[in-house]
Amino acid sequence: MSKSIEISNLIHRYPGTDFNALHKLNLSIDKGEIFGLFGPNGAGKTTLISILTGLLKIDIGTVKIQGMDLRIETEKIKTVIGVVPQEYAIYPKLTARENLQFFGSMYGVPRKDLNRKIDSGIAKMGLTKFANNRIETFSGGMKRRINLLAGILHEPNLIFLDEPTVGVDVHSKRFIIDFLKKMNEKGTTIVYSSHILHEAQEFCSRVAIIDNGEIQIEGNTQDVLLDNGEFRTLEEIFIETIGADRVHV
């Protein structure tokens, strides 16, 4: 299977610190996977996602996304990835439609397709009657759904999701997970970071646990969960890997 992301010997150190936030990290993610990245606070997952989305520069090592070198083709890579940050990365004073018009056009969605894609996306998220309402009037779950739409309107091949369902009601969570599964069925690769491990256990096809800037465990979800012939939960494995005294999920 061809690779969506290939990371070799990636090292990153923040200025003013005496340790590597990422240390000789190697990882590859196949196209079409839903890849779950987990780790305690400060483990290095935000640093890794920040590098993969072009927010941070690579110090040492190589990263290839869709076969393109991230160091050289950063701007081109930005057109084929979608980023859904944990924060509401949308303008509260603008309506849902206005937000999507702005972010869609920034991602280069052609003028003729933009409104059609917005209408279709809003409908799939069950927000058609709120399309022209300002985001500041939305509930947390509605904001999450628009936050997700804003990052995928250009139909990227690869999506980075940071806690996409945190703080939302069951109804909104269902919309988001179903929507992402449908995208994945169409071939979109999803890199997903969350602290909701039971959700990740169902959703991800492959998982990795990162700590101290290094991958501690990596593999197919079912393989990771199967320990000596017995199935355990991802949460149990996470606690065992990181250490019960350090876990802050």
Partner: protein
């Protein structure tokens, strides 16, 4: 272009949703220019009796009457010599000043007219007796008497400009009266009429304003105020712009914007274009008010015939300078609480240093040097060049280049800072 169009649209929509902010941007300068022009125009056109002056006159002679009448001729002063039909005394006047109920008191001492005339006579007699031996020797006993002086008391709240203006006016009047008294004594001595000498001053002067086309245009309050307050308003764009940038930085949108295939250059260009548009609308609104509203409310209209294009050019470059400064403040500030007060205070300081409130030529030398490197001063001089000196584009170009250089400098520092310190 499609991206920039949508980025501009986004900025305009965000501005439109902040109605209070927009109202402040447009209404504040209009209120300012109308208020200040009203006040300045009233002062320049001598609206009657604006400043009350108490006079405690202890003298019954002609000289004190002349002093009072001369002061009454000054329309800016309201002369009060009696209170409740009682002649005002020094004691009553001083008490009123102490209570803050009155601002200025002039005290003319008892028998002042006779004292001054006798002193003048004695001076002349001494002079004449020295050069003309047949004239009897002067009586110099007057010089041994206690000196009689006119006192001016000021409430401490009265500013130095008013104090100086009044003292100068009184000095001027006393010099005139002294001269008249001297000639009067000569007339008495020689039994001749020298009044023709004082009828017309020996030195005459006439006020003229120099412009490049040699026409004599006397600038009115509007021509002085419009450039200053327009610049002040244009530079106030620093506050909403810097807040806009800080807000964006502190929202999740900043992270998403950084991951977009949309360069920082395109991003900042869209902001510059929107805020420059706001600056220009602000400027044209102020022009409309000055040209069309002012005559309706009894103020002199602004004359912009043949100057519209050059005024717009100066406004455009001033707007760029202000936007550059706003982008820099927005980039460096971490929070809204840093950007807003710093933006407002720095604009006020730039205005003061730039000569918007107090003319640069009247400042101390060091401050004049500082003013010459102030962007608001370049803008102000640019506007004055167009409105008052009728300069052309070439003559304006030094100021325009300086304003543009200021814009570029701020943008460069902001860009470097953004790359170096504002990484995620």
């Amino acid at each position: 272009m499609f991206k920039i169009y949508h980025a501009i649209l986004k900025e305009l929509r965000l501005l439109r949703r902040d109605l209070l902010g927009v109202a402040i941007i447009f209404l504040m300068p209009i209120v300012l220019i109308i208020t200040i022009t009203f006040i300045q125009d009233s002062i320049e056109n001598n609206v009657e009796g604006t400043l009350p002056v108490l006079i405690a006159n202890g003298d019954d002679g002609d000289l004190s009457k002349t002093i009072i009448n001369n002061l009454k001729d000054n329309n800016q002063l309201k002369i009060i010599t009696e209170l409740e039909n009682e002649r005002l005394t020094q004691e009553v006047g001083v008490n009123l000043l102490k209570l803050g109920q009155q601002k200025i008191l002039i005290v003319i001492p008892e028998d002042f007219s006779n004292y001054i005339q006798n002193k003048t006579d004695a001076h002349i007699n001494r002079l004449l007796s020295e050069v003309m031996p047949d004239i009897e020797e002067a009586d110099l006993s007057i010089f041994e008497q206690e000196t009689k002086e006119v006192f001016i008391f000021f409430d401490p709240a009265v500013g130095s400009n008013v104090r100086n203006a009044l003292k100068n006016a009184i000095d001027n009047m006393i010099s005139k009266l002294e001269t008249q008294a001297i000639y009067k004594t000569f007339e008495n001595e020689f039994e001749a009429d020298f009044s023709y000498i004082t009828e017309e001053p020996l030195i005459q002067f006439q006020e003229k304003s120099i412009t490049t086309n040699h026409e004599n245009i006397t600038p009115n309050a509007v021509q002085h105020n419009l450039p200053a307050w327009t610049l002040f308003a244009i530079f106030f764009i620093v506050i909403p712009l810097s807040i806009n940038i800080v807000k964006e930085k502190n929202q999740g949108t900043y992270i998403r914007l950084k991951t977009l295939p949309f360069s920082s250059f395109e991003f900042i260009i869209s902001k510059i274009l929107v805020y420059l548009f706001v600056c220009m609308v602000q400027f044209y609104v102020m022009l409309l008010v000055s040209v069309y509203l002012f005559p309706i409310i009894g103020l002199p209209a602004l004359e912009i015939e043949g100057r519209f294009f050059l005024l717009s050019v100066v406004a455009l470059f001033s707007g760029l300078a202000a936007i550059g400064f706003g982008v820099l403040i927005g980039t460096i500030s971490k929070t809204h609480e840093q950007a807003a007060p710093f933006g407002a205070t720095s604009v006020v300081i730039l205005a003061a240093v730039g000569g918007l409130w107090f003319p640069v030529y009247a400042m101390p030398e060091t401050m004049q040097m500082i003013a010459r490197i102030s962007p608001m001063n370049w803008g102000l001089e640019g506007f004055y060049d167009v409105l008052l000196r009728e300069s052309n584009l070439l003559q304006l170009s030094p100021y325009l280049l300086l304003l543009f250089a200021f814009f570029l400098l701020n943008m460069t520092i902001a860009l470097i800072y953004e790359k170096k310190f504002n990484q995620i």
